[in-house]
């Protein structure tokens, strides 16, 4: 990773709508360099997409989220990666992590209703032949994600003018 690459990632992580001109000024690189570097990061899939972070609680969309701890039995010729693939291909699944500790995979699932979510666990996830057990916990409230506090109520407490 070059300094320019890490600088650009830092800036885009905060605000991916910053125009190339400003990115160039702020990193001290030329417009062409910045454009080429970002393209390189995209091609190498370091940057996967540019998406806003949304606080769904403030929308009227019905939505249920759960974290499911999944225990699996890896089978011959089928390591964790293949089992994870069987799971992450479901549309309901938002994230899948391989974990150390008392279970193997952590699966973040989103559905519109509790019923849909229950149907996913009982009808799609649990029946997979390699899955030996699941423990589902529902998300009640989100406080902080990706470093962003959802309802911080934080204000700038600095004096308007100071020496």
């Amino acid at each position: 990773m070059t300094k320019l690459e890490t600088d650009l990632l830092d800036l885009l992580k905060e605000d991916c709508r910053l125009p190339l001109e400003k990115l160039a000024v702020m990193t001290g690189a030329s417009l062409e360099e910045v454009a080429a570097t970002i393209e390189g990061l995209e091609q190498r899939r370091v940057i996967l997409r540019y998406a806003p972070m949304i606080n769904w609680d403030l929308t009227d969309r019905e939505r249920v989220e759960a974290m499911i701890e999944v225990r699996v039995t890896p089978q011959r010729d089928m390591g964790f990666d293949a089992i994870a693939r069987r799971i992450y291909c479901f549309d309901e699944v938002k994230s899948v992590f391989l974990m150390s500790g008392s279970y193997d995979l952590l699966v973040l699932v989103e559905a519109r209703t509790l019923k849909e979510l229950a149907a996913f666990v009982s009808g799609k996830l649990s029946p997979l032949e390699t899955v030996t057990g699941t423990a589902t916990s529902f998300v009640l409230k989100r406080y902080k994600e990706e470093g962003v506090i959802f309802d911080s109520g934080e204000t700038d407490r600095r004096l308007v003018i100071s020496p």
Binding site: D15, K22, M26, T27, D156, R158, I161, S162, P163
Partner: protein
């Protein structure tokens, strides 16, 4: 009661800070974006705050030694030797103060006698000249010029020296200009200092916030200057700890001892939790390569480039600041004084900046804008200034 008779005329004669006047106006405005702040927009890293919380939980609520907690003085000595190559004995040469501000005040009171002249390069931080007057001496302004990169030059220094000159305040990296002085420039000043046997109060509060490959040089590290320099620094700017009020002075044991005499009678000690947090900040920094300081500095640097570029795009001449977190553009092309410009900008566009004259008459024609402001707000403020400048061409 006749208060005029009661109050000390030497103090009442000092005009109130120009910043204060502007603050009163800005405070009445709503939805203002302020570029007039003089502190980081970062909060103190939580790990440091947590150390102070634990200290309270553990019941550490007593006075500390006058000179400061021994572990903090040890850390300060390690920091200055590791970072700037100057060694101080934590027992005799380090004094922890209530912000760098108290250190400046103590230094002036320790050094000044009636009739003494103290040289103050300007534009600079607002409290030096009043501090000299409060201490009973006479401040002598040494105007620094943009053509000299707002650095103090040996020529300007020589011109200001009289037989009464006792000390020089050296405020670099500089607030409000953002100027820095490299080793060569400091060595040139050192020659004059030595020739006239001056003492130097070096305010290095922005020492960590330097950009563009510049490396901060402590004046005490310049050959021959150690014995005649008081190094003042603190945690407010580099470590985002303004409200904790912890700073320090390091220098010759004889000077520190006299400063401590005033400090112990007037103040007793800096607040304990601030000292505990400051010691943790230095220890953590020493162990992780000053990760937090560098992260904040990188962030300021990006915004610095953005602000300077924006002013230049507006057609305003803007000196390239290489230190602190201020830009000091010239607003002469708008045909207004600094104060008129800032007042009109505030009233018509709800953006607060500080008139350059708040930092001495040499600041006329410039305004100070702080880029330690969230990027989205900074962009809005710069757009508003651009519109203001276009309307006033």
């Amino acid at each position: 009661m006749n208060y005029e008779k009661l109050l000390n005329p030497r103090i009442t004669a000092v005009p109130p800070s120009g910043i204060r006047r502007f603050f009163d106006l800005a405070a009445t405005m709503k939805d203002t974006i302020s570029l007039g702040v003089g502190e980081p927009d970062f909060r103190t890293p939580y790990s440091i705050r947590n150390v102070a919380i634990n200290s309270l939980v553990d019941g550490e609520t007593q006075y500390t030694a006058n000179r400061g907690l021994p572990e903090l003085r040890d850390e300060i000595a390690l920091y200055l030797s590791g970072r700037y190559g100057i060694s101080y004995d934590p027992e005799k040469q380090v004094l922890v103060t209530i912000g760098a501000s108290e250190a400046i005040d103590l230094a002036l009171r320790a050094v000044c006698s009636p009739g003494d002249e103290i040289l103050v390069p300007e534009p600079s931080y607002v409290s030096y000249s009043p501090g000299v007057i409060f201490a009973g001496a006479t401040p002598v302004s040494v105007k620094t010029l943009e053509e000299d990169n707002f650095c103090l030059t040996p020529g300007k220094l020589e011109e200001a020296i009289t037989p009464r000159t006792k000390a020089l305040i050296l405020p670099y990296p500089n607030n409000p200009t953002g100027a820095v002085m490299d080793r060569e420039a400091l060595e040139a000043v050192a020659k004059v200092v030595l020739k006239h046997d001056l003492f130097v109060i070096s305010d290095e509060i922005y020492s960590e916030l330097v950009y563009g490959g510049h490396k901060h040089v402590s004046f005490a590290a310049v050959e021959g200057m150690y014995e005649r320099t008081l190094t003042i620094n603190g945690f407010s700017k580099s470590f985002a700890m303004t409200g904790w009020r912890v700073g320090y002075a390091c220098g010759p044991a004889e000077v520190i001892s006299v400063m401590n005499k005033i400090h112990q009678y007037a103040i007793m000690c800096a607040p304990r939790q601030g000292q505990v947090a400051a010691a943790a900040a230095l220890k953590t920094g020493r162990e992780n390569g000053y990760e937090d300081v560098l992260r904040m500095r990188d962030s300021y640097d990006r915004r610095r480039r953005l602000m300077v570029d924006a002013f230049r795009s507006m057609g305003l001449h803007c000196f390239e600041p290489l230190g602190a977190f201020y830009a000091f553009p010239s607003i002469r092309s708008a045909g207004m004084t600094s104060e008129e410009f800032c007042t009109a900008l505030l009233r018509s566009k709800n953006v607060a900046a500080v008139p350059g004259t708040a930092f001495g008459p040499g600041g006329e024609g410039n305004i100070r804008c702080c880029y330690a402001t969230a990027l989205d707000k900074l962009n809005v403020a710069l757009d508003r200034i651009a519109r203001f400048v276009a309307e006033n061409k």
